[in-house]
Amino acid sequence: MKTSFFDRRQLAIPYFIYLVLFVVMPLLVVLYYGVTDGEGHLSFYNFTAFFTNSKTMGTLVYSLIIAVTVTLICLVLAYPVAYILAKGQYARKHSFLMVFVLPMWINFTLRITALKEILTLLEGNLAYHPFMNTVICMVYDFLPFMVMPLFNALTKLDKSMIEAGHDLGATFWQVLLRVILPLSIPGIISGVTMVFLPAMTNYVVLDMVYNSTYIMGSLIGSYFNSYDWNNGSIISAILLMLIGFFTIFTDKIISGKEDKA
């Protein structure tokens, strides 16, 4: 028994090395730059400057608006699809799922280039609606990341729970809202996390659809371009902290739910 436990620990070593070298170390470097000024002295000026500048805060707000909109649309679009695929009586449900994930096999800049042409045909001039186009392209890009976790969560959902709900006289909506939805929350949360952060930072999409307003990703990039590593790093760190809080917060919800169950 003891030897096998030891073996399993050894299996984790490659990943551990990977984690230290490529996740922890770079993060420490980012943090180091974030809390120092150009001369290497400890300084929280950049940190406070971010929250007191109306333009950088504006960028945060603008990114949040985009990210929330994209995430909500993805959720609304993906949920029914995932549900039908997971619970329907299809012989080849995994093949159907493939169809939804298929676009991911093609590089996203290529897909957006194609979508751009379609949107140009529909709208005439893309530059008239930069916000709308950004949202459309991001939804298109991130939808599979929402479908997959929802599908997994809903497949695991015990069918007898739904049947029990119906047997006890609940309507379709009551079952959906009080049985299915609460049970699929872990799937919703992982879907949301997978869409939300990229939507806040993926500025390549904005560049491609001619949206000239910065989001968090482009703001960070602009600081690195002007050799201001300290400011760029602290903004990355702030973004990371926001996501960290978000994850801890949602973790609490999930574990709270599991405790109740």
């Binding site: 070298l21 490529f22 170390m25 770079p26 420490l28 470097v29 180091y32 730059y33 120092t36 290497g40 109306s54 333009k55 950088t56 805060m57 504006g58 960028t59 707000v61 603008y62 140009t120 001039n125 893309l126 530059a127 008239y128 560049d207 491609m208 001619y210 949206n211 000239s212 307003t213 910065y214 482009s218 703001l219 602009s222 690195f224 371009n225 002007s226 050799y227 201001d228």
Partner: protein
């Protein structure tokens, strides 16, 4: 391993890289006689060979130029034949000046790189550069193609630039040069309108014009709009030191100017199609936009592409002034590290690229204009004729204001270097590649700003690009 001195803070950052490099370096041992030359150049900025047989350039005097192998391979071969030493070029590329600078500061080591003028000046200021040897500037010496062939005009531009009392030409050798202007569709925009930078603010072309997504390029266009009255004042226009005064004006970075530029750029942002990093060329060709702020070299490329699709675009270097830019080869101290053989190879590489035939190969391949005018050789001028000479005599005109590029005394040279071309070409590729004297007279080099000004401009740029919270609450 490498002896780069670097700040402690950055050490831990690439500790990981060093660790891996150390693991890998065991298997990479070249034999000791071979000189390794690490070159970093812009993407797609050198002839990579592989031309079709029918692409061969046949000049009037019988010279036949074709790129079979890449210039880098040809250099390795030429160097061995000439000096009996094997040189191995490790060639890599970069996308922006800032990217190159960041790469170097985190510890990438190159021997020879090709940044733009302001980055050369920044690197000079920071003491990163290795000076060229005395020998390199000796035009009398065989093999010194750069000193022999560089245009007297470009030489003059270099002479006027200095950092901390040291002249630019001590550290840099030019490669390509050009102007900043506007590519436009003459069916939609008149020649007159395209002659002014304020076309970017023209409401008639709402969301139909792009501007470069680069602080410096946007700043230049906006400052020219800002100082329009002063620039076009006849007193200044006709003053003997017009160019010097223009240069002073367009290089201003005081807080008031930066603020005014910021306001102009915010207006431009609300009017233009987009700030583009690289999509402008394609969007011009597909007709998504009707005008585009563009570097002359990319303008030539855009015009060529559109021509293949059957429509004719034009290029204009606006009346208020244009940004004279150039890219140049500089050697890095950290890379050369006092290795004489390496330095010799690096200088030879620059000279090899400066052979008129090789300059033509590069120009054909990438569309930019070489700083080489050829010296005693007529190859460059013949190449211009090969490209642009009018076939039909009926609408032919003499393009006769480019003598300055070839000889010091431009008055006499103008006659000798007159291109008989079509009227159209005087507004198209020929004009973009070899601007007339009237254009270079109003061109200024945009200096490398000091740190304080840079910070001010970058902050202002962030203001232009960021979402204004006040907008959300309906306040103006």
């Amino acid at each position: 391993m490498n002896k780069t001195s670097c700040r402690m803070g950055r050490m831990c950052g690439f500790l990981t890289i060093i660790l891996f490099a150390a693991l890998l370096s065991g298997c990479d041992k070249a034999d000791s006689d071979t000189v390794t030359l690490r070159i970093c150049n812009w993407e797609e900025y050198i002839d990579e060979g592989d031309w079709d047989e029918d692409e061969a350039i046949e000049l009037d005097d019988g010279t036949r130029i074709i790129g079979q192998n890449s210039l880098v391979e040809d250099f390795e071969e030429w160097y061995f034949e000439t000096y009996g030493v094997r040189v191995k070029v490790e060639y890599s590329t970069f996308g922006t000046n800032e990217e190159l600078y960041n790469q170097i500061t985190i510890g990438d080591v190159y021997d020879l790189v090709c940044p733009s003028e302001y980055m050369i000046m920044k690197m000079m200021r920071e003491g990163m550069l290795e000076p060229y040897s005395e020998d390199f500037s000796d035009a009398g010496k065989a093999g010194n193609y750069y000193s022999k062939g560089v245009s007297p005009y470009i030489r003059g531009v270099f002479d006027n630039l200095s950092i901390n009392g040291e002249r630019l030409d001590k550290y840099a050798a030019g490669y390509m040069w050009g102007t900043l202007g506007i590519v436009y569709n003459p069916d939609e925009i008149t020649d007159e309108e395209a002659k002014h930078w304020n076309i970017l603010l023209n409401k008639d072309y709402y969301r139909r014009i792009t501007i470069k997504d680069s602080v410096r390029d946007a700043y230049f266009a906006a400052i020219a709009i800002d100082y329009f009255d002063e620039i076009t004042d006849p007193v200044i226009k006709n003053s003997p030191d017009y160019n010097r005064r223009l240069s002073e004006m367009l290089n201003r970075t005081d807080p008031d100017t930066v603020k005014e530029v910021e306001e102009i750029l915010i207006r431009a942002k609300d009017n233009v199609y987009s700030f583009e990093t690289d999509s402008g060329k394609a969007d011009m060709v597909t007709g998504k936009v009707i005008a585009n702020e563009q570097w002359s070299g990319d303008a030539v490329y855009t015009l060529d592409q559109a021509e293949e699709d059957g429509f004719m675009l034009r290029y204009s270097a606006p009346e208020e002034g244009t940004n004279l830019w150039f890219d140049g080869w500089v050697m890095l101290k950290a890379g050369i590290s006092e290795d004489a053989a390496k330095k010799q190879a690096a200088e030879a590489f620059v000279n090899f690229l400066s052979r008129p035939e090789n300059a033509v190969r590069n120009m054909y391949y990438i569309g930019y204009t070489s700083v080489i005018s050829g010296g005693d050789s007529d190859v460059i001028f013949d190449y211009i004729n090969y490209n642009y000479a009018a076939e039909d005599e009926e609408d032919a005109v003499g393009y006769d204001d480019i003598g300055y590029f070839f000889e010091d005394d431009s008055e006499d040279a103008n006659e000798k270097y007159t291109v008989i071309t079509t009227k159209d070409q005087t507004k198209r590729q020929l004009y973009a590649q070899y601007p007339p004297k009237s254009v270079v007279d109003r061109s200024v080099v945009m200096a490398c700003f000091d740190d304080e000004s840079n910070e001010r401009i970058n902050r202002s740029w962030t203001n232009v690009r960021c979402f204004d919270l006040k907008k959300l609450f309906g306040r103006k």
